[in-house]
């Protein structure tokens, strides 16, 4: 059996993979090869900047830049090979008219270690049976039928998994805290708000393998003693919302979600909540308020969501990617997971590699992989004629790593030491053409507009900081203004109520630290 897997994620769809799938369907049925060539729409295949992408089985080849005009010739080539009586013994003699066959020995592929994305790009995300065939909900079943909640908690704690939503809080510890809370009705929330601009890891996971996330939520619910869950997803992700709705529906009908799962007394239901365009709603207390149908304003912690969350109930909040790690960790064991990555940052991390980079897309690498590897080797560096100036990580809460520090390993602590954060995984490469002061002003404007307005330091501080940055950009600022930037920035960080304000000055401070010259060059002549 030959198989064609065609990316049907938002990126490739925007490049016309929908038309490609349609043309392939027609060509296959016209050639009456429906029983010999299986065509599957799948999740992200990786190098989005080269889409539409198409994978061929059993060869394992990956083709880039494939269009509907290629369908006829591809099916004809497959037909020829099938008539020769072999599925794969001979390499397929075919290439897309305007695309190419990708060299899978390239670092972009070789350096990946796919755990979160293990089934993304393999299965049709709209077909629960395909997900089950590769093991979806299998770990949930094993857990429900033989594991105590304590065993799940211990295993997760031993694995060293830390939250992938930004802060890197130990996941097992968070679960154990919620599990210890009194109360019969607890809640599990999946944070799918993915608000950092330039980040699309969670979108890819939800579009490509939604059941993986649902399974993680159900296991979490069993471990902490919850019976209900919410997924809070940003409204901009229309396709992910559609796939999730379908996945929840299918899982309920197939007895993977709902009451009395796998013949046990444990039941778990999931509701989808769609955001409405407010960045701050990714912050956990704001997110809870939004789920409750209120304005998404953060509140001081404590009490933490673990004590008082949705509807006042003890609530566990985890990011999409965190939850997507759960099933493989329990399946392969905590030791297996802990051995991947570094001592302080176990496992892998998914990054969305984008910006001024030759090969962009979705990559999953072991923690501790260097930025050099990801940006220069896998991403193949800046486009022709340019050079990398810095890499932005952590979005509006993060900062920049300058080109001469790209040897930094990607782990929570190393990035923090450089004045940025791992963040959720957005990685925007900046080349020499990038104006770092303009970039700082851009992020400050972002935070100013997204500040919920509840606390003064964040509300007024971001306005003032943005004003100062604009003055510098206009060439009418003095050295005193530069000092003012730093003092005010520190004040906003120290006194804001929530993470938005506490980290709003970070992109600016980080560019001041590494690209001070860019600022000085713009000051008014004394």
């Amino acid at each position: 059996m030959n198989g064609l897997r065609c990316c049907a994620s938002a990126g490739c769809l925007a490049r016309g993979s929908g038309a490609l799938i349609g043309a392939l369907e027609t060509a296959i049925s016209r050639a009456e090869l429906g029983d010999r060539i299986q065509l599957r729409p799948v999740g992200c295949l990786g190098p989005c900047s080269q889409g539409p992408l198409l994978a061929l089985d059993p060869d394992g080849d990956l083709y880039a830049g494939v269009g509907p005009q290629d369908a006829e010739t591809l099916v004809a080539a497959l037909a020829r090979r099938l008539h020769q009586g072999s599925d794969q013994a001979t390499p397929l003699e075919w290439a897309p008219a305007r695309g190419e066959r990708l060299d899978l020995r390239a670092p972009f592929f070789q350096r990946q270690r796919r755990i979160v994305l293990e089934h993304c790009g393999l299965i049709d995300p709209t077909d629960l049976e395909q997900a089950i065939a590769v093991g979806a909900y299998g770990q949930l079943e094993r857990v429900l039928q033989g594991w105590s909640p304590e065993r799940v908690l211990t295993e997760l704690q031993r694995s060293g998994l830390r939250g992938r939503g930004g802060a890197g809080y130990p996941t097992g510890l968070k679960w154990a805290t919620v599990a210890r809370m009194p109360g019969a009705r607890k809640v599990v929330v999946c944070n799918a708000d993915e608000g950092d601009p330039g980040a699309f890891m969670d979108r890819a996971v939800l579009e490509g393998d939604p059941h993986r996330v649902l399974e993680g939520m159900a296991i979490a619910a069993y471990a902490v003693g919850a019976d209900h869950g919410f997924i809070y997803i940003r409204a901009e992700y229309a396709l992910a919302i559609e796939r999730l709705r379908l996945a929840i529906d299918q899982a309920v009908r197939r007895g993977r979600l709902g009451p009395a799962l796998f013949g046990t007394g444990f039941g778990f239901s999931v509701e989808l909540r769609v955001g409405a365009g407010a960045y701050v709603c990714g912050e956990e207390t704001a997110l809870i308020a939004s789920i409750e149908g209120k304005r998404g304003t953060p509140r001081p912690r404590p009490p933490y969501p673990a004590e008082r969350g949705v509807g006042g109930k003890p609530t566990l909040i985890n990011n999409v990617e965190t939850l997507a790690n759960v099933a493989p960790i329990l399946r392969e064991g905590a030791d297996w997971f802990a051995a991947i990555g570094t001592a302080g940052s176990a496992g892998t991390k998914v990054f969305s590699l984008t910006g001024h980079v030759r090969r962009g897309g979705l990559v999953e690498v072991p923690m501790g992989t260097s930025l050099t590897t990801v940006v220069l080797e896998m991403g193949e560096g800046a486009p022709e004629g340019s050079a990398v100036k810095a890499v932005q990580t952590g979005g509006p809460s993060g900062g920049c790593v300058p080109a001469d520090r790209l040897d930094t390993p990607l782990d929570y602590e190393s990035l923090q030491a450089l004045g940025t954060i791992m963040g959720s995984g957005g990685m925007v490469v900046l080349d020499q053409s990038t104006d770092m002061v303009a970039l700082a002003a851009y992020f400050m404007a972002f935070c100013r507009e997204e500040s919920c307005g509840k606390c003064v330091p964040c509300r007024a501080g971001t306005v003032q900081l943005h004003g100062l940055l604009e003055r510098i950009l206009a060439g009418s600022a003095s050295r005193a203004d530069l000092d003012q930037l730093e003092t005010l920035g520190a004040m906003v960080m120290d006194t804001s109520l929530c993470g938005l304000g506490q980290s709003a000055p970070k992109p600016m401070l980080s560019t001041l630290r590494y690209f001070r010259g860019d600022y000085l060059a713009r000051l008014e002549a004394p």
Binding site: A10, G11, A14, R15, C48, S49, G51, E194, G195, D196, P197, G198, A199, F200, R203, A235, E236, Y237, R273, V274, G275, A276, G277, A278, Y279, S290, I291, E292, G293, K294, R295, G296, T297, G311, S352, T354, G355, H356, G360, G361, Q392, G395, G426, V428, L430, T434, L439, Y442, F446, C452
Partner: protein, 158 residues
């Protein structure tokens, strides 16, 4: 489209309210559905939602106005959106905004008085490999150039 004003004219919303058990917790979901059904959140519609959920109108309006995606006037016939996420920003979003503003005679965030066209921004659609991108009436224009964009805008039906 005439704006329905009488409560009974929001009949299509009943099924939605029922599905959410008229629970104030579901206010945002209900506002989404209301906007989908009636294209924007008119005053009478917000009042209707408040009444049916037994919430003060101020609470409903206060919540709705917090979120960027809720509209309080009818959408323009043509909706032009520029992505200003980081990847698009560093690859030319500003030039695209300029081209839009110039061609349409509008400022970012505005809507033409006669409701023909509006110009707004979105912060990352999550398809950053296509940066810089714009969205016109739901169609993505990827790796957009200012010139290409100007030509596209000229083709918009009057």
């Amino acid at each position: 489209m005439p704006v329905p004003t009488k409560p009974e004219s929001f009949m299509a919303l009943e099924a939605v309210l029922l599905r959410h058990h008229r629970s104030p917790d579901s206010l945002i979901e209900i506002l989404h559905q209301s906007q989908n059904l009636y294209s924007y959140l008119s005053d009478p519609l917000l009042r209707h939602v408040a009444t049916r959920l037994k919430l003060p109108l101020s609470r409903v309006k206060g919540t709705a106005s917090f979120y960027h995606l809720f509209r309080f006037q009818p959408p323009a016939r043509h909706r032009c959106v520029v992505c200003t996420g980081t990847a698009c920003q560093i690859q030319g979003a500003s030039a695209l905004i300029e081209a839009m503003e110039e061609s349409l005679g509008l400022q970012m965030g505005d809507r033409r008085g006669d409701g023909w066209v509006s110009l707004s921004e979105v912060r990352c659609l999550g398809t950053c490999s296509d940066a810089p991108l714009v969205l016109i009436d739901g169609t993505v224009g990827r790796q957009q150039s200012s010139d290409g964009l100007r030509r596209w805008l000229q083709e918009l039906e009057p």
